[in-house]
Symmetry: C2
Subunit: 364 residues, 2 copies
C-alpha cells in the first residue's frame, strides 16, 4: 500500500505496528525451499499464517509447488492475486460456500479436503452447475482426533466415491499430524510423527490397491517439516509458520529465525518499576503464552489487558519513558497476524513496504 | 451494509458469523439507560466493545451523554459518524498520533486521558498548531496498577499544568477500577469499589481545592456500573460490555442478557461422540475461557484450534451432522468482536441488518 513513510526509519512508524524483518523472512523462505529442493516431497506453504499474497508469491518463486489455505475466503484472495494451485485443507460445507468453491474452481486449480460422502455429492452437484472441476483429497485422521476418516474402509470407500463423481477430480489424501508438532523430545517426536506418516502413506497404498491413482499425499507443518518431509511416500508438506516463526516454534525447531515483531510505544510510566505500552490483547495474542520482549535487558512483559501491556522493569530498562518504543516477538504468529490490517516491512532499519494482510478476517 | 440475505431466516446465514439478537441488545441498552435516567451520574458507553457507530448512536439516543473510546483510531471512526462528545480513555503519545488528535479536535469535542507532564505539553503544542482545543482529564490510578497518577501531589500538579496550557481544556479526572470488576463476592466488591471511587472523588476535591474547576469525574464499567454509578461525586460511568454481555459478565452481574453469539457450522463428524465446527481461535477468543454452546443439551465445546472447534457429544446432540448449525456465547465479547468485519443483526429469526464493525482493528 502506498505510504508516505516508505524510506523512513523504523522508529518513525506509529504503533502498535506489525513488523516484518524482510532479510530474516527471506532467509526463512530460502532455508525451507532449500530443504525441499532435491527431495521427492515438495513444499506447499500454508498461507493461513501470513494471509498475504505477496508473501505467497515469494514462497512460490522460491520453489513451492502451490499453496495451502485454511478457508475458502483465503483461497479467493490468493486466487485473485494470480495463484493457481491451491489446497484448502478443510471441509467446505453449506450451499453458499460450495457454490463459491465451484465458481472459484473455474479460475484456479482448487483442491479441497473431504471426509463425508454427503459433502462429496454436494461438491459434485455444484461443480456440474458451474461446469467446473473441483479437486478433492480425502482427509485422513492420522491421530490428531480432529477431522478426517478414521478407518481404512472409510478412506477407500470415500476415495472410490470421489473418483466416481462427475465434476470432481480425485487427487489423493491429506492428513495433519498436529499432535506431533510441539513434542519437545526429538526422539519421541520422530516416533509419533512416523506413526502418523505411516497411517497416511498406508492409506494411500490402500486406495491405490483399489485401483485409484493417488497423486497427492499431503501433510506436515513447520514443527515436523523435516520428519514428514523425508518420509517415503509423502509428496508435499504444508508448513506455514516457518516464514516468520514465533516463540512457540522457536522453542521446538532450529534453523529458522524470528522475522515478525510487534512494535509498541510506552504510553505511561506510572511507577519506578513499571511501564505500560499501547499493545494489548487486540494487538498480540497470548493463547500460547505472553509475547517475548526483544532486546531489552531487565524488562519483562507480565500482563496484557485489552489495550495495554504491562512491563516490569529492572536494570537498564529502568530508563524507559513515554514515547520510547519496544518490540515484542509473538508467541503465536498466525493469530496475532489475524488482528492486523497491514505489515510494515523493514529492511535494516528502513521501511521498505506496507503490505495489506488481504486475507485477514476471511473466516468464511 | 447491503446484503442479499436481508429478510432471510437466520439459518441461511453463512458461517462463521457474528450474530446480534437485536431485541436482547435493545433491552440491554434500555435497562442501562433506565438506571442512569434519574441519577446525577450519566452513562458514557465504552465503544471499544462493539466498535460500531450505529450501536453507539442507539446508546446516545437512549440517553448516553457521549461515548468512550480506547484508541484514537476508534474515535476517528465514531467522529466520522457524527458523534461529538468522545472521551479517549487512554494516553495519546507520539508525534503522529498527537497531530491526528489535535486535528480531530476541530471536528468533535474530544477529551483525552493524561498522566504525564511532558505529554501535556506535546498536546498543547499540537493544539496550537491546529488552532484546536483538546479536552483533557487527569487519569488517576485508583488501585488497578496500570496507567495514572499515583499521588495527590502528582494529580494536583498535573491538573494545574493542564489548566494552564494553551490549546487544552481541563475537564476533570478519570479512573478505572478494573481490579473490582470481576470480584464474585458482592460485599467484597462493593467495599473495594467504594475505596477506588473514594480515591477518585477525593482527588477531584483536591483539585477543586487548588482552585480548578472539575466538571468530569469518570470511571466504572459494566461490572461496577451500579456501585460506581451511585457513588456521590462520580459524574459518569464508562460501561461497555452490557450492550451484548458475555459469559464472564453474565457470571458477575444480573439484569442484562446475552445478545451476541457466534453462529458456526458443523463441518465434520469424525466419530460417534465428536463433531468439529468451522469456528476456531480466529473467530472467537478464549482468554477468559471457552465459549458456551447455546441451547444444545449434551454437547460441550472442549477445544478450539485456529480454524476448528471440537464439540464433545452425549444425549440429543448426538444427531449433529455436517451442515448443522450451532451457536456459541463468547466468554469475552470485546476481543471476539475485534476478529470480525460485520455483525449479522437478527430480529426473531430474520436477518434485519448487516452492520460493518467499522472500528475493528483501529489499534492506532
Amino acid at each position: 500500500m502506498a505510504s508516505p513513510l516508505i524510506g523512513r526509519h523504523k522508529s518513525e512508524i506509529d504503533t502498535p505496528a506489525l513488523i516484518i524483518d524482510l532479510d530474516a523472512m527471506e532467509r526463512n523462505i530460502r532455508r525451507m525451499a532449500d530443504y525441499f529442493a532435491d527431495r521427492p516431497a515438495k513444499l506447499r506453504p500454508h498461507t493461513k499464517t501470513h494471509k498475504c499474497p505477496i508473501v505467497a508469491h515469494k514462497q512460490i518463486a522460491a520453489g513451492a509447488r502451490g499453496i495451502t489455505c485454511a478457508k475458502l475466503g483465503e483461497a479467493e484472495v490468493m486466487a485473485s492475486s494470480g495463484i493457481k494451485d491451491i489446497l484448502i485443507a478443510n471441509q467446505i460445507i453449506g450451499k453458499e460456500k460450495i457454490a463459491r468453491l465451484a465458481a472459484l474452481a473455474r479460475h484456479a486449480d482448487v483442491i479441497v479436503a473431504v471426509d463425508d460422502p454427503a459433502n462429496a455429492r454436494d461438491l459434485s452437484d455444484a461443480a456440474r452447475v458451474f461446469g467446473s472441476e473441483i479437486g478433492v483429497v480425502v482427509e485422513v485422521d492420522v491421530g490428531m482426533g480432529r477431522c478426517g476418516t478414521r478407518t481404512t474402509g472409510q478412506t477407500v470407500s470415500l476415495a472410490r466415491l470421489l473418483d466416481s463423481l462427475e465434476g470432481l477430480r480425485f487427487r489423493g489424501l491429506m492428513g495433519y499430524e498436529g499432535h506431533c508438532v510441539f513434542i519437545q523430545d526429538r526422539k519421541d517426536q520422530v516416533e509419533k510423527c512416523h506413526l502418523a506418516n505411516s497411517m497416511l502413506v498406508e492409506a494411500a497404498e490402500d486406495v491405490r490397491r483399489a485401483g485409484i491413482e493417488v497423486e497427492i499425499v499431503s501433510g506436515g507443518g513447520t514443527g515436523t517439516y523435516d520428519i514428514t518431509g523425508s518420509y517415503p511416500g509423502v509428496t508435499e508438506v504444508e508448513a506455514g509458520s516457518y516464514v516468520f516463526m514465533d516463540t512457540r516454534y522457536l522453542g521446538v525447531i532450529g534453523g529458522f529465525e524470528p522475522a515478525l515483531t510487534v512494535l509498541a510505544t510506552v504510553i505511561s510510566r506510572p511507577g519506578k518499576d513499571v511501564v505500560i505500552t499501547d499493545a494489548g490483547m487486540k494487538t498480540v495474542t497470548q493463547e500460547f503464552g505472553l509475547p517475548a520482549l526483544k532486546g531489552v535487558q531487565g524488562a519483562e512483559l507480565v500482563k496484557l489487558s485489552e489495550e495495554h501491556g504491562q512491563i516490569q522493569l529492572t536494570g537498564e530498562a529502568a530508563n524507559l519513558k513515554p514515547g520510547d518504543k519496544v518490540e515484542f516477538i509473538p508467541s503465536h504468529g498466525c493469530t496475532t497476524i489475524n488482528l492486523h490490517d497491514a505489515y510494515f516491512a523493514i529492511r535494516g532499519d528502513r521501511l521498505e513496504a506496507v503490505w495489506e494482510i488481504a486475507a485477514r478476517g476471511k473466516i468464511r
